[in-house]
Symmetry: C2
Subunit: 266 residues, 2 copies
DNA sequence: GCACACCGTCTCACTGAATGACACGGAGTC
DNA sequence: GACTCCGTGTCATTCAGTGAGACGGTGTGC
């Protein structure tokens, strides 16, 4: 877990912003999210390197506005409000996207019997899981709504890359690439090769590159502008991942993504 | 949809807060969430009744910090970033709560074959769905992660009420109660009766009071302090809702909630 | 029993960050 | 070509935000 205090990249590209209170408040929310446990004023103030009184003022406001909750067990502890989830869910253009997708996802789930994931692209940086249809198998993969993955470690991410202009892909793969699993490729050339392959076939594959024993086949959904905005993936434990069936799964997932694109852009 | 401009209740109970920038920024996020569509600076500024330049400054900051996204199709439009969902998910004490619950939920899903919902209590106001195990039936109920319901219209909400001190229940039921469905009860006395019944039996029932044709049986999960923090419900279409089986389902869901409470508070 | 460290809370004089009226250039309309 | 509404940017003014510090309570070690 990266400490929130060091921000070597920040001072640059600041510009004449002029909303430090807001920035600080959001930072408090972020740290609470990352820390992921009830946390006190003092600790929080140390984590973001701000005076206690300032942090407390921010916390009180966040509480008043319903973004954070206070619990005074023995001492006062703060945490994010579940309301955040409710807000994140109602509020987003991907609401319509999900509505366009849901029936197709259910159909793909019925056809494959495997867990179906539907993720959206977040700022060209990561994929965020927004919907899921469970597998019928007793042994199945589990991933939580809201879970995020880098682009280079997931079938959804690689499917999205395969739909982006090549120069953008190069720029993205030139960034530092995290090695999440032993099986994760962090070689830009190797990844570019995979992306080109995915572009040709219309689907991307992930073999335990993101989470242990989890394999997936995915295809991207395009928005009105033709740029990728989301991805559908079939996710399964490696015990059921038969390489021979990949082309079949690939075709299904590609067709599903295509159908969602059509429903969505209409 | 309530217009964000009129806030008759706000001026009171303000106190010497002292973070209007943060409040305004959060308000912008909220309005974007509620509006739920790409939206421009001007319209936003009219909705929250703030000068255009102020709103723009806030938006830029929200964008820089990764909470909002800008798309310049023809003109500039803003929307929430998917990152919000990722933040909401990682960040919360209910992460551990869900971890404690997931196995029990899967077991209950396997036993019943119905959709299992797991919701947390949000500020004594609403229940927010944080996890779901899908039914195996072709005809099943659908509800999105992050969906919220009032306490008096859902099995989860009534189960939670049944675990609260009676005076608090009275206070909550004294608030204006929305009639979401024809079947929704908005009579405090009737609801209190239901709550007492649920308290006695250990589970609560909802018969199409929240969404059409959706019935549910639910029980509450207690936190370390003994107060209710979440609820498990078995959710199904009314065609499969056999009143005769309710006690059986009730016992299962009650035992599951109990098991989660034990796992969680250990 | 005492000293000490650390907790969360609250005050208040100071000041610089936030403010918002206004100007600007461009797109669409009549 | 006159008008309106859009998003963007500027800058003098000032009030909202700041943070050092005081305070009371709690737990620990001596």
């Amino acid at each position: 877990m990266m400490p929130a205090t060091e921000r070597p990249d920040e001072p640059a590209a600041q510009g004449p912003a002029g909303t430090q209170t807001l920035i600080r408040g959001l930072r408090v929310l972020e740290v609470m999210a990352v820390q992921n446990r009830p946390i006190g004023v003092g600790e929080l103030s140390r984590l973001i390197d701000l005076p206690k009184s300032t942090v407390q003022r921010l916390l009180r406001t966040l509480g008043q506005e319903g973004w954070a909750e206070m619990s005074s067990d023995p001492t006062t502890r703060w945490r994010l409000s579940p309301r955040l989830l409710a807000l994140a869910r109602t509020g987003a253009p991907w609401k319509t996207l999900r509505e366009a997708a849901i029936l197709h996802l259910a159909a793909l789930g019925a056809r494959t019997g495997e867990t179906i994931h539907f993720s959206v692209l977040d700022r060209d940086v990561q994929m965020v899981l927004i919907d899921r249809v469970d597998s019928i198998h007793p042994v199945r993969t589990f991933n939580a709504i809201g879970a995020s993955t880098p682009l280079h470690t997931s079938a959804s991410g690689k499917a999205v890359l395969a739909m982006l202009p090549l120069d953008e892909v190069e720029r993205i793969l030139a960034r530092p690439l995290e090695k999440v699993m032993p099986n994760t490729s962090t070689d830009p050339r190797h990844l570019m090769h995979q992306v080109l392959e995915a572009k040709e076939r219309g689907y991307a594959v992930n073999i335990s590159e993101n989470r242990p024993h989890v394999c997936a086949v995915g295809a991207a959904v395009a928005g009105p502008g033709g740029r990728p905005v989301a991805a559908v993936t079939i996710s399964m434990p490696d015990v059921r991942f038969e390489p021979a069936r990949v082309p079949e799964w690939g075709a299904w997932v590609r067709d599903t993504a295509r159908a969602i694109t059509d429903t969505f852009t209409d």
